[in-house]
Amino acid sequence: MKKLILAMAAATLAAVATQAAAQPSAQDDTTIQIVGTAEAFCTLPSSWQFASSSSNVSASQFNGNTWTIPAALVADSSGNAVSSSADVSIRVRGQAACNTTHIITLTSANGGLAHAASAGDPPAGFTRLRRMTYDANWRDTSWGIFNWIPSSPGASISYDHGAQVPPGNHEFEIKMGLLRDPANAPMVAGTYTDQLIITVSVPS
């Protein structure tokens, strides 16, 4: 009988131990992460539309990506530079986008409206450059570059948007103005050009 009691005790202990070891957690869980990325990006208009101008400039002067400034606004029939404070400007715009901070850079190829043919050998006693003023900004905001007057070929200027809210889908505007400062000499005949390059870059 004693042996039986011992056996029962062993069985009881064994059963208790079995219960303890076999009791798994009543609950189990696992977590799966879902990840993705929104790439930083900015776009500029693929084409620009006329928006507004000074009274002496018309929409028809803007075609494609070129503003053709009437010769009479630059020099008179005698070749003398027109000197006037009257505004000569045009504003164009198009749809752009940016989802992050960014840097807007303007570069003027000629540093103003310049007689490109004489760039390497400017004739003495003539004027071969009219200054230009440029704006490049997100429409109806202060985000951008205003009243920039390039002073030399290849000159550039930048605007850093910093930690401000991104513009999202937003129109982007360019305003170009001809400054008609007094000149002390007649202008060289020929074609005057500048190329304004607008860059919106995302910091790496």
Partner: protein, 190 residues
């Protein structure tokens, strides 16, 4: 557990035989009792991170290919079971921009993306579409169940941007950066 129980029973039988031989006119009964508790088990998923890669199209909005019902990513859990009535829960957080932004969220941009997280392979297909942190969906199942091969599958589809108020709104541009959401699968014995 069954194996261990068998071992115990064998030991009891061996110990009890000599006693029975000595007491010819006596009998003794031994009652054995044990319990199998309700429990659930989930194996390790074959993928703990489901990478949806670039969420955006060239216009900065959600990639149209990610808006529909096409499955974008799947994780499989081969070993899932509950040995008793139980509950299945999905707890999920919407995909959220992971960088700190020093300005209030503009109405035209999104910092959160919801998705369908559909769990199939259980008696009921469970789907959660989180708009917040730790949204919860729970369903009770009145029987044991073990997922047949290939097991439980968590499928992600139907992304959509959330506006600052947490409502789904198409056409919002995503702020740049990395996004992270979670889905936690919970099996709990009742």
């Amino acid at each position: 557990m069954l194996h261990r129980l068998k071992s115990v029973m064998a030991a009891v039988a061996l110990l009890a035989l000599p006693g029975a031989a000595q007491a010819q006119s006596a009998s003794a009964g031994i009652d054995l009792s044990s319990t199998v508790y309700g429990a659930c088990g989930l194996g390790t998923p074959d993928a703990s991170v489901l990478d949806l890669h670039d969420l955006t199209g060239p216009d900065g909005l959600l990639d149209p290919a990610k808006l529909g019902s096409a499955v974008l990513a799947t994780a499989t859990i081969a070993d899932a079971w509950c040995n008793s009535p139980h509950s299945l829960s999905l707890q999920s957080t919407a995909m959220t921009l992971q960088r700190t932004v020093p300005y209030a969220q503009p109405a035209y941009m999104a910092r959160r993306v919801t998705f369908d997280a559909k769990l199939i392979g259980w008696p009921f297909t469970a789907t959660i579409r989180p708009h917040n942190d730790n949204d919860l969906f729970t369903i009770d199942i009145n029987s044991p169940y073990a997922a047949p091969a290939p097991g439980l599958r968590l499928q992600i589809s139907k992304l959509q941007t959330l506006n600052p108020g947490g409502a789904e709104q198409a056409g919002l541009m995503l702020e740049s950066g990395n996004y992270l959401g979670t889905v936690t699968i919970i099996l709990a014995a009742n």
